[in-house]
């Protein structure tokens, strides 16, 4: 055992609820950790480990809520619903205590809590901000996608990534976001028209959204890893060149997995 191996184990225990439950003797499964490290960490007071783990989880998800729900947070003075306050609820404490930091499962649990908090009994808010439901859904999608990881898929046949999604909204979300960022923010009634966004999380961890055309939607739906670029072109009524261009952009933002090494020579 080295200081490094012990510290590696400590970090894993702090960031992984089920593993921590094993260490603290709250789960039946046999520990999958090297015995020496396990033995030493068991001597740290249980309460200290639990307290620090909860603190770290609260910080981890607090940072993500502040960043990815920032537009919703701007309305907190009017709505009295600051998404960050979700972390103070008893249900969130349960999620924090069993969280696996960065996992899609924990992000899903947290996103569900956030949606319930923001959308339940929200008729008055919806009346004041008629795009409220769409905005919550938009931010929650970003929150979920950031935690997803693309499965290994090095194929020359483009495949939709777990880290991408196309979402349709009743309101023009890009127009609303633009309006929210302007100093003279006003109620954007003119933005009451449908919008469709491609939202994706890149390997660099950046979540972005792009306005999505019907062609992009068709391509995204058809790219299931079984079709060649040529076949996708036929299915989407686009030229092979157009399809390649769209796929490259979608790959860059993390919406598509595609080993395009042999097709990028043009």
């Amino acid at each position: 055992m080295t200081g490094r191996s012990l510290h590696d184990t400590l970090l894993r225990v702090l960031s992984h609820g089920p593993l921590r439950a094993q260490l603290l003797g709250m789960a039946d499964k046999t520990a999958a950790i090297h015995a020496d490290e396990w033995h030493i960490l068991r001597r740290v007071p249980k309460e200290h480990v639990q307290n620090m783990a909860r603190f770290l989880a609260r910080h981890y998800y607090g940072e993500r809520i502040a960043r990815l729900f920032r537009h919703i947070r701007r309305f907190a003075p009017q709505t009295d619903r600051d998404p960050l306050s979700v972390l103070d609820s008893p249900r969130a404490c349960i999620v924090l205590d069993r969280a696996v930091l960065g996992s899609s499962d924990t992000a899903e649990e947290m996103a569900s809590l956030l949606e319930s908090f923001l959308l339940e009994n929200a008729a008055a808010i919806q009346k004041q901000f008629p795009y409220w439901q769409d905005l919550v859904r938009y931010q929650a999608t970003m929150f979920r996608l950031e935690a997803r990881e693309a499965k290994e898929c090095a194929t020359d046949r483009p495949c939709r990534s777990e880290t991408g999604a196309i979402v349709e909204f009743e309101w023009d979300i890009p127009a609303i976001l633009l309006d929210l960022q302007s100093p003279s923010h006003r109620q954007p009634e003119t933005a009451h028209r449908p919008s469709m966004l491609l939202i994706a999380s890149s390997s660099g961890g950046q979540v972005i959204s792009l306005r999505c055309t019907p062609e992009v939607q068709r391509l995204f739906d058809a790219a299931d890893g079984t079709r060649t670029v040529e076949e996708l072109g036929r299915l989407t009524d686009c030229s092979e060149h157009q399809v390649e261009q769209m796929l490259k952009q979608m790959k860059e933002v993390g919406a598509i997995q595609w080993d395009d090494g042999i097709t990028t020579s043009d």
Binding site: G3, H16, V44, H59, G102
Partner: protein, 270 residues
């Protein structure tokens, strides 16, 4: 003798307040690069001395070429007189197959003070220091756990780290107070054991009771008298000290807190 500069962290949501109080602030430390949409950045960057305090990499691991290039580019962009990085370990040893850690705490967390980790930090600090071309100041992180293994004291680890790598120290007073709390030590005597002769920057901030940790912890509040007294004591033993910074980087930091903290620093150290 170089003049001691007083400053704060650049919190973009407080840009207007920072500019309005520019006569109180000499430097700004940057924990994150400014966003492209930051309308105040041009004024900010021209008005203040900028200190790079971005995450450069976990120094227990070798930094990649990309990380080293980014660190150098940041120093050049900000014209930062020194670089700063935490003495932290927030992710385990990366998987050798893809060189990516499987998890990251995304929050400062101290290493263990063992020989093997000291060796790794020394090696990687030297590489980073050579690369950035400016002094590198290392900021210790508060110790929270007693881990029952043979390891150096935090003070011994820091002395050896400075001696063997040539790095400098960024002394965060609240961090030292929290470590002393964990060790059951008096903060002043613990702090005086640290290599204060290598300190080039001091951070001050407030402490508040943390409900999760059930003990005091770092909070975005103004420093109290105890913290300022300790900062004054450390400064008196730090002949290389060049900057004193109110260390609060949080979206919840309020303009009045920033103003109050800067006023307290001015009263003591200007």
């Amino acid at each position: 003798m170089t003049r001691l500069t007083l400053g704060a962290f650049y919190n973009p949501h407080l840009a207007e307040a920072i500019l309005a109080n520019a006569d109180q602030i000499d430097h700004l430390a940057l924990a994150d690069a400014p966003l492209p949409r930051d309308q105040w950045w041009s004024q900010i960057s021209h008005r203040f001395i900028l200190l790079a305090h971005d995450y450069l990499g976990q120094l227990s691991e070798p930094l990649s070429r990309r990380q080293l290039d980014r660190a150098r580019a940041l120093m050049e962009r900000y014209r930062s007189p020194w670089a700063a990085e935490h003495l932290q370990r927030i992710h385990p040893t990366p998987d050798q197959a893809n060189d990516k850690p499987d998890i990251s705490l995304d929050y400062v967390f101290p290493p263990l003070y063992t020989e093997d980790l000291l060796r790794d930090y020394v090696r990687n600090i030297r590489v980073l220091q050579d690369n950035v071309g400016v002094p590198l100041a290392i900021e210790p992180i508060p110790t929270f756990f007693h881990i029952d293994i043979p390891q150096m004291s935090e003070a011994e680890f820091l002395h050896r780290l400075c001696e063997e790598s040539g790095c400098w120290l960024l002394l965060d007073i609240p961090h030292a107070v929290l470590s002393a709390y964990t060790y059951g030590r008096d903060p002043a005597s613990f702090m005086l054991e640290l290599p204060l002769h290598r300190v080039i920057e001091i951070h001050v901030a407030g402490l508040a009771f943390n409900a999760d940790l059930k003990r005091p912890w770092i909070a975005p509040v103004a420093p109290d008298k105890n913290i300022l007294d300790l900062a004054e004591l450390a400064a008196a033993h730090a002949p290389q000290l060049k900057a004193l910074t109110f260390d609060a980087f949080s979206p919840t930091l309020r303009p009045d807190t920033l103003r109050k903290a800067m006023q307290l620093l001015r009263e003591r150290f200007a």
